[in-house]
Symmetry: C2
Subunit: 305 residues, 2 copies
């Protein structure tokens, strides 16, 4: 339904001189009338969709609510600055939940130097919903958009993929520092974070860039959790399938020229792995490379809202 | 519970150099590293608390979700600029609801020159929750805080009070233009918007200012809706009681010196009524004036979250 609704929004939201970037990228970019421009993003996480309150530590839920927004700021290679929090709290344990949620957010906020600027705290008869809005600023390099990939660019990814349901969806580290460092030292053409599944998000980045993308499946970094999940479930879904489609990895995918990508791989500037997992191609759509050098279509899979 | 939680927050939220104003006023104020500073506020409205989805036009709900945030920016005498929207939508009618909510917001956004910058749209099995985060900027006069009232200041109010449940809580006009105009032309000491009840919010403004406030009950402007409600209900609650405690009036209350207040009343710069309804006093607490010139305590009443 979100895809349909985004299409409706594109037709109905008027342009505005302050909107340097509106809906469609990982965050919006607002011209406040001075410098720097302001990045803003909102993500709401809800019970039984993004977490199960009856099975989860509320501190992890609070942490996740902030972390998913930090990942969006990372996707723009921005600096996070301040957050406001809106809570819809089940009436029977509202105060306890509110404090636990904040206690889960505060260490992550401190780690990324984010101010908690305020919020709105509501009790109701519904389930828990946590909405975080995060403000940030762009660096002098400007925002890292998802629409700048060019045919011939290499597709890079931080970290590894799949199996986040085993814990990583709560405990991931937003790639703020990695994005800032890469965007400062290298000429990145495009970037976004992987929230809905590697293959789905790669296809979105290609579409936003007006080109296609080809994954080299043998190079996709498969997380230990994806392997564990494939083994535990034993349902024929391979660890690679999990890596391609599970989502909530919150790793970065990036586009850069082959020369620039080679330089990154040589210099290894990050504390986390950085891999080349494919390339961008002129033909629209998502592809996988074959051993004989040809390619075939690959279905984007992941979490469709 | 919100009062308790705000006390907890005050003890647990660390200071941050970017936070010019944190929790405690109508909005936060963020230093983004340039000028002007950024006002940010979030309000979430939820089914069965702030509206009844089964009895209400979703466009009015969308309008209200934006309008309550505009009222917070008005309370700081700021200029609203851009909003992001997070929705938790009941699964069975998600797309229809999302579009109707936006169609309710868009005319009000246009009227106040606010860009809808993006959002997050979620489906779930819970009831409808609508969270709007609004960004704005302060004028060269700076933010109009609620903490600047001084003993001897007169207490002014725009519009009239009470009975908002009969329709005004959906259809009120946020006092953006009025606040900007008054703050530009006159020396205002403090201001806030009345969301929870006139007597309760006046007592909060006095407390934030470190003084007390005395209402002259005979001067409180009672709305036609408050009179209708008192008559319809016939439960002994007077129209004045409604005006003092109903809440969701979203009018401005302001503090200014007697000379400045007299100048406002003489010049009548607004298209809406502006009245003197009391004054600030040195003794803490809320008071009502008596005919013999003395005063007695008045209980703050209103919506306690």
């Amino acid at each position: 339904m979100e895809t349909e609704f985004l299409a409706w929004l594109r037709d109905h939201l008027p342009a505005h001189p302050c909107l340097r970037l509106g809906p469609g990228d990982d965050t919006a970019l607002i011209d406040l009338g001075g410098k720097p421009d302001c990045l803003v993003t909102v993500d709401m996480i809800t019970d039984q969709v993004d977490f199960h309150l009856d099975q989860s530590d509320p501190r992890l839920i609070g942490r996740k609510a902030l972390a998913v927004n930090l990942s969006d700021i990372a996707a723009m290679a921005g600096r996070p600055l301040a957050a406001v929090i809106a809570l819809a709290l089940p009436r029977n344990r509202a105060l306890e939940l509110a404090t636990e949620l904040y206690l889960g957010m505060l260490p992550l906020a401190e780690r990324h130097n984010v101010a908690i600027a305020g919020g709105d705290t509501n009790c109701w008869d519904g389930p828990l919903a946590v909405s975080v809005t995060l403000l940030g600023t762009v660096t002098e390099r400007g925002p890292l958009r998802r629409s700048g990939a060019r045919p011939g660019d290499w597709l890079l990814a931080t970290g590894s993929f799949g199996g986040s349901i085993l814990g990583r969806h709560f405990e991931f580290e937003p790639r703020i520092e990695e994005a800032l460092l890469l965007n400062e030292r290298y000429e990145l053409h495009a970037g976004m974070d992987v929230s809905d599944g590697l293959s789905l998000d790669v296809s979105r980045m290609a579409e936003a860039s007006g080109c296609g993308a080809m994954l080299r499946l043998e190079t996709v970094p498969i997380s230990p959790a994806a392997k564990t999940l494939a083994r535990l479930r034993g349902d024929g879904v391979s660890s690679l399938d999990h890596a391609l489609s599970d989502g909530e990895d919150f790793e970065l995918i990036l586009a850069a020229s082959p020369d620039e990508a080679r330089r990154m791989l040589r210099e290894r500037p990050l504390g986390v792995p950085l891999s080349v997992v494919g390339e961008f191609v002129a033909d629209a759509g998502l592809w996988q490379s074959l051993a004989d050098g040809s390619r075939q279509p690959l279905s984007p899979r992941g979490w469709v809202h």
